[in-house]
Amino acid sequence: MARTLTDEQGVKRYLVNLKVNGDNHTVMVKGNSLLVNVLRDELDLTGTKKGCELGDCGSCTVLLDGKPVNSCLVLAVEAEGREITTIEGVAQNDKLDKLQESFVNNAAIQCGYCTPGMVLSAKALLTRNPHPTETEVREAISGNLCRCTGYVNIVKAVMAAAEQE
């Protein structure tokens, strides 16, 4: 159980350990603090986007123990002790992951607001299923809305990255 403090207004604060992209962070959060807000506001990891705050758009997708989740639907206290991967953790030492490279090379990016979530959903797919069918790719990113690309080049980019396996 996380250690707690109660502030002057009587609101309980939780001391939470978050492991994000391999780095350990200790933060004080409220019980209702969303993971997306803690990542963005406390840790300045703004690659995780906010699009709807209702779990509809997928812009805030992060990996929690390797599984894609909408971080606007996860409380920060629930993420204690879990392995969190955000888009900032995908390119190791500033070297693009093959999926990221494939997004760049296949014109799969336009405004880019959905891109972090798309990459993470696709990454989770390729980790559990390195050779997906096109339908499996479409299913895997169907929780991530994109308003620019019609998903055409995103699907192409994920398929191309899978072929490199």
């Binding site: 699009g51 990016i109 880019g112 308003r147 019609g150």
Partner: protein, 766 residues
């Protein structure tokens, strides 16, 4: 050198790809400034109500709240994006006009406090009768949304070209059809936000904007500041599609909150606010009457339209004109009449959504033309070929079209799709349809009256020639203009794309440009960039010539190498020459400017629809209908575009993909819905149904070649025009599949199911 061009025509990767794919790209809402506050606007819960009193005292007492403002704290000067109809206030003064109208705003230390404070503001309202239907709104006894527009008629248009009555009287067949469009919303994935920093006499606003220029102009006007004291800029933009073209309460209220507190203020919309702010597509009510000869040649068209504008004008005057103006572009006919009423209702204001005013009328006309073809027994592709516009023609409303390859596009779409093998031969439940579209490559006139040029650009070469920076007021909202303009600059300079940097969309650092709307930047910003690049090249060749022992005219420069045209072995690098230039003459700078030549006729509204060039497209779609459920599956689509010279093929086809996607959503799924009191019931991304990756068909995007004399290197537009054929195309395919026409958008599963059932009942009853 074998290829004509070294840099343009190639699918180079986007300038911002790396930053966007790694999460480094900062959007407005990601930015942080020391001491920054967060702010939000309180909106009206009523569609039409008088404001009796506003009590902010409880909100002000909440710990963490730094300022609460109402209409008493802000300028009362009305603003808007259409100069003919400035009808919005920063906050409502006497009454609210729709659910979501702006009433007050709060700045506080964090978002949670902001939301709590908004709930503590007490507004006393006296509700007034409201009107939600444009036809009811035009009745004499209807409540007035805006007192200055009698019968709520915000814009009224009556245009008449040629002799429509005579042509109709002489026609072999005259047909009238009525169609209805729906309200849709742009739904960019990035919510709007704006960070205002009012520091002494200088106001700086970071905003998710499609046009820093219009924001700067209207913000300066509202606060009585010289334009130079207002700096508007953007970082990255998460999509716009027309919904981020005009300044919002976020900029105006944020500026005041920043001035009062002396701190930066980040204002934001949540998803529900975005739907309420709207400025999405108008719902249009479209009656079309067309007379044709016995071969299906169009003789005359009468478009008689009404559009629901919502509570304010926004860009609606232009939307109303565009709705009729562009109907004359794809097909040749001489007689045309256009009547339009844009009507105010107590609903969110509509504006410019991708294809501005044109997609719904195009849906109506393409559906109408198929009805005519069916009646005359003419194949739908054939009737379009017989009427397709040709190059070097003029429309009845006096738009000059210099290049048009619609005929070639139709033939190519027909052949690629296997139209001849499929039309009339598909199994039950399947259908094939065709639609065409077109659009302006930039509006011929800016939104407000000014003699400013459409676009300008500056290129500065680094002191040692190792890099060059393009400064342009153009705006990359995701479509890739930064990339395309860097390609154009490098081509014109004889330089290398990879060494180009760009500073764009910043009213302080970049020279004037009107921004991202009306599909204008590739042609207009591109023309200015090309001129700036050529000026660099001219200066560079002049300085490089003596060392090579030739005259400057004998030299050319390509991909960073200056060489003697007659003997390319004699050469030197761009970098060396650029360094020599700097040492001898100072900064190597090129400048470019683009003015549109005077276009269009002299009648009222003649400016809307003018453009240096028009794109054209033909599109074929194949659909599958589940007759048990009405479920519509778009199976495969072939799009063939005439968009002039292509600068970046990968980005161009990506525009077609996205434009089709948006049109497809509007065809079948998307609709903003209201309850009986004017409140949106689906202001979220679960119930406002954007298609997902599972809904997209196999989509083939192809081209026909034209070289447009009015565009740099022959370019035309693609981004908006590609949305225009989609709804008509899908409508015609669904009609082919179920044997009956649905006349209202969206062509939802329920409507398809009901129409199929009705048709079967009628057929079995015969």
């Amino acid at each position: 050198m074998s290829q004509e061009y070294a840099v343009i025509g190639k699918s180079v990767p986007r300038k911002d790809g790396w930053d966007k794919v790694t999460g480094k790209a900062k959007y407005t809402g990601d930015l942080k400034f020391p001491n920054m506050l967060v702010g939000k606007i309180l909106t009206s819960p009523h569609a039409h109500a008088r404001i009796l009193s506003i009590d902010t005292s409880e909100a002000e007492k909440l710990p963490g709240v730094k300022a609460v403002i109402t209409h008493e704290d802000v300028p009362s000067l009305k603003y808007g994006i259409s100069p003919a109809r400035w009808d919005e206030n920063i906050f409502c003064i006497d009454k609210v006009r729709f659910v979501g109208d702006k009433v007050a705003a709060v700045a506080a230390l964090d978002e949670e406090t902001v939301y709590k404070a908004l709930k503590l503001i007490k507004v006393e309202y006296e509700t007034l009768p409201a009107v939600f239907d444009p036809f009811e709104a035009m009745r004499e006894d209807a409540p007035l949304v805006q007192e200055e527009y009698p019968r709520n008629i915000n814009t009224e248009i009556h245009q008449n070209f040629g002799d429509v009555d005579k042509a109709m009287a002489e026609a072999y067949y005259v047909r009238t059809d009525r169609f209805k469009g729906q309200r849709t919303y742009q739904s960019p994935i990035e919510p709007h936000s704006a960070i205002s920093i009012w520091d002494k006499d200088k106001l700086t606003i970071y905003s998710s904007t499609q046009s820093p220029h219009y924001f700067q102009y209207y913000i300066a006007r509202e606060f009585g500041l010289p334009m130079g004291n207002v700096r508007v800029l953007k970082t990255h933009i998460g999509g716009g599609f027309g919904g981020k073209l005009e300044p919002t309460g976020l900029e105006f209220a944020g500026a005041v909150l920043s001035k009062l507190t002396g701190r930066p203020v980040r204002m934001f919309y949540d998803r529900e606010d975005m739907f309420a702010h709207n400025r999405g597509r108008h719902a249009q009510f479209m009656e079309l009457t067309t007379g044709v000869d016995k071969d299906g040649k169009i003789l005359a068209v009468h478009a008689n339209f009404v559009m629901d504008g919502g509570a304010y004008t926004s860009l609606g005057v232009a939307s109303a004109y565009y709705a009729g103006a562009l109907l004359t572009i794809p097909y040749e006919f001489d007689n045309y009449k256009f009547d339009m009423y844009r009507v105010n209702t107590n609903l969110p204001a509509c504006g410019a959504q991708r294809g501005h005013g044109h997609p719904q009328p195009r849906f109506a006309f393409e559906s109408h033309l198929d009805n005519i073809a069916k009646e005359l027994g003419i194949d739908p592709v054939e009737i379009r070929l017989r009427n397709a516009r040709k190059s070097n023609t003029t429309t009845p409303n006096e738009f000059k079209v210099e290049t048009c390859a619609l005929t070639e596009a139709l033939e190519k779409a027909r052949d690629l799709s296997g139209w001849r093998e499929k039309k009339g031969k598909l199994p039950s439940g399947r259908g094939i349809g065709i639609g065409v579209g077109s659009f302006v490559s930039g509006a011929g006139y800016p939104i407000y009256r000014t003699d400013l040029p459409q676009a300008s650009a500056v290129i500065k070469v680094n002191e040692d020639g190792s890099e060059a920076t393009l400064y342009s007021g153009s705006v990359d909202i995701g479509q890739g203009s930064d990339t395309v303009l860097c390609q154009m600059a490098a081509e014109a300079m004889g330089y290398v794309y990879e060494k180009m940097r760009i500073v764009s969309a910043d009213t302080e650092l970049a020279p004037h440009d009107f921004g991202a709307y009306a599909s204008r930047q590739t042609l207009m910003s591109g023309a200015a960039v090309k001129q700036a690049g050529e000026e660099i090249k001219t200066q560079l060749l002049a300085i490089a010539a003596p060392a090579l022992g030739v005259r400057a005219e004998e030299l050319d420069c390509r991909e960073g190498i200056i060489f003697v045209k007659a003997n390319p072995e004699i050469n030197r690098t761009f970098g060396e020459a650029a360094r020599e230039f700097f040492v001898k003459k100072g900064p190597l700078v090129g400048r470019g400017v683009y003015h549109v030549p005077k276009l269009g006729g002299k009648f009222k509204g003649a400016a809307v629809g003018t453009s240096p060039a028009y794109s054209f497209a033909a599109q074929v779609a194949e659909v599958e209908i589940d007759e048990e459920t009405g479920e519509v599956k778009i199976a495969e689509v072939w799009d063939v575009h005439d968009c002039g010279k292509v600068i970046n093929p990968a980005l161009l086809h990506a525009q077609v993909h996205g434009a089709f996607y948006m049109g497809m959503g509007e065809s079948v799924w998307e609709q903003v819905l209201f309850d009986a009191k004017g409140k949106i019931i689906n202001a979220n991304l679960a119930e406002y149904r954007l298609p997902t990756a599972l809904d997209m068909p196999r989509l083939h995007s192809d081209l026909v070649d034209t070289v447009e004399p009015n565009g740099p290197w022959g370019v035309k537009e693609v981004g908006e025009g590609a949305t225009t054929p989609v709804m008509g195309c899908i409508s015609n395919a669904i009609t082919d599949a179920i044997g009956v026409r649905i006349d209202s958008l969206p062509l939802s599963y329920e409507k398809v199911w009901r129409a199929s059932k009705e048709r079967k009942r009628n057929t079995s009853g015969e």
